[in-house]
Symmetry: C2
Amino acid sequence: MVAIEDVGEFEAIRRMIAARPAVAGVVVAGGDDAAVLRPEPGMDLAVTTDTFVEGRHWRAEWIGARALGARLALANLSDLAAMAARPQWAVVSYGVRGDHELDEILAFDAGLAAVLADEGAGLVGGNFAAVDGPEWFGLTLFGACAPGLAWTRSLARAGDLIAVTGALGRAGAALALAQRFGAPAAGAWWAPLFEAWAAPESRVGIARALADTGAVHAALDVSDGFGADLHHMCDASVAGVEIDGAAWPIDPLLERAARDLGVPADTLRLGPSDDYELVLAIAPAARASCAAIARDAHVPLAWVGRFTDRAGERIWIEPDGARRVLPHSGWDHFAHG
Amino acid sequence: MVAIEDVGEFEAIRRMIAARPAVAGVVVAGGDDAAVLRPEPGMDLAVTTDTFVEGRHWRAEWIGARALGARLALANLSDLAAMAARPQWAVVSYGVRGDHELDEILAFDAGLAAVLADEGAGLVGGNFAAVDGPEWFGLTLFGACAPGLAWTRSLARAGDLIAVTGALGRAGAALALAQRFGAPAAGAWWAPLFEAWAAPESRVGIARALADTGAVHAALDVSDGFGADLHHMCDASVAGVEIDGAAWPIDPLLERAARDLGVPADTLRLGPSDDYELVLAIAPAARASCAAIARDAHVPLAWVGRFTDRAGERIWIEPDGARRVLPHSGWDHFAHG
C-alpha cells in the first residue's frame, strides 16, 4: 500500500493523467499551466483551476477576505498569462463553515470579481458547500487563445533566452517570514515582500503584448519556485539550461530576508515560492523588442540565461564562473517535512 | 453580524450573484443548473461545477472510491442534461490527505473518467491540494449547447405539462436509511433505493433526444428535492403549478422506507433528495411524441401535473381531489438542524 505522500504530488498526478482515456478536441492536455480545448475549428479555449486551502495557503491573521479573493483570481490569471490567453469567464467553488460571517464571504467574492473585471473577465456561476474543518476556495477560469498559438512549456529551443518577470522568490520569503513572525506591521522593512505574496501583479497584459511578437517559444508561471518550474520546462522541452548568476536581479530585501531566516539567499531565489511571475523562452533576435515592450508596460523583465541542447544539464553559473547544478526543490504539497 | 447559516445557502448565493459585475458573452448567468457562455457567435458552451465533501455528501463506509468518482461525474452530467448540453471536457479539484492510499485516488479518478467517457467527454486537467480535515472532490464540466437553445428553468409556460424522469425521492430515502442503519447488505430490500443514491442514471441521452422535439420549454435537475426544485422553477418562470397526486408514480420501496423511517411518504417523495432526475416543462401537444422517445430510451417518464398562470399558487392535488400547498423543503447545506 502506497500513500500519496510516499510518492509526492507530481508522481500522483503523473499516474492519474497516464491512466485517463484520451479526449477529443484537446490541443494542450493536463500537465501544462492550463488545458487548451478546441470547441470549434478556429477557436481555442484555455482552462485552469486552482484552490486555496485554509492553513495551507493562507491564515486568516495574514490576509483579509477581499485580498484573499483577489489573490485567488491572480493565481488563476497567472496560469492563463502563461498560455497568452485572454481571460473571459470563471466559476467558483467555496467550502465554508456555516458560522462564517456572510459579509466576509461577500467581500472575498467581490475581491475576486474585481480582479477579474480588471482583465475583462467575470464570474458566471459556482458551487457552495458547507464544511466543518478548514475552509477552501476554488476557481476555474477560462479564456480565449489565438488558435494554435497558446504558449506551452514544451517548445523551448536550444539558444532561446530565458526572461523572467518581477522579483522572484519574494512570495516564498514572505511566507517563511510570516510563519516565523506573523504578518508584518505597517512600514516593516519586509512589507514589500509580503505585498508580493499577498497581491501579485497580473501578467496577462504583458503576456499578450509579448505574444504578438511571435518570438516567445515557451512559457510557464512560477507557482512552485523558479528552480522547480524551470526544471519542469526543461523536462517538457527536452532542453538544458544555463542560468547566469551575474545576470540575476539583485534584491536587497530578499538578501535581508535570507539573513533573518538563516538560510542561503539562493534558497529564497530559486526555492519554493508561488510568485505568479512568468518564465519565458524567447528567440535571441527578439530580445530588444521584448525588452522595449516590458519597459513600456512597466514590468521588470530580467534576462537570466539560455536554453541549451544538453537536455540533462541544468546549470547555475556563479558570478565567478563556477558552474553548479541548478537546485530544483519547489512546493510539493504532499512531501514530508 | 450575520452568519451564512442565519440566512441559508440560497440567500447567501443570491446576495453574492447580485453584487457581481455583469460579464460579456453570458447567455444564461448563475442561478440555473449551468451557466451558458458564448465564446463565438454560433457557439454556446454550458458550464457547471459541483463538489462532494466527506461526511456531508458521503461516508467512506457507504461507497467505494471508484463509485464515488462515478457519482461526482453523474451529478455534474445531470446539470448539463438539464441544459440539453453535450458534455465535452472536465477539470477536477481534489483536496485529499497525504496518507490517503494512492490507489484509492486513482480508482476515484478512473471511475469519474469512465462515466465521462460513456458520454464522449473526458478530463483535461485539474488541481490537487493537501488537506488535514475532511476531504473534498470537485468537478467543473463543460459542454456544447445548440446556440440559443439551452434549456433554462425560467421559460415554463402556463399549460405546459410537467414530466419527471426516474423514481423521485429514492436518493433522499437511501441517505436517511444509511444514516440510520449503515449501507444495506447485499440483497437487502432497500438495496435498489441505495443504488439510486449511489449510482444515478445519466439523463444526458434522453435530454438531447427530447431537445430535438423543440417541445421542452424549461428544465432542471432534481438535486435538492422535487418540491424545492419545482419551486425554483416556478419562481424563475413566474408560474404556478398543480401536481396530480393520482398521477404520481407508485413506489412501494419508497413507501416501505417511509414506514421504517417513521415519516410520511410525501416527505420522501417531495422532500430533500439529490436524485439527479429531470423535471421538464413540455408543450401538451408533444406529450405522445415525448413519451415515445422516453419509452424507446427505456427511461421512466411520468406526467405529474401542469404549470398554471397563477404564479403564487403551488398545489398538490390529492387523489380524492383535496388541494393543499406543495411542500418545498429541500437541501440547504447551511440550514440549522
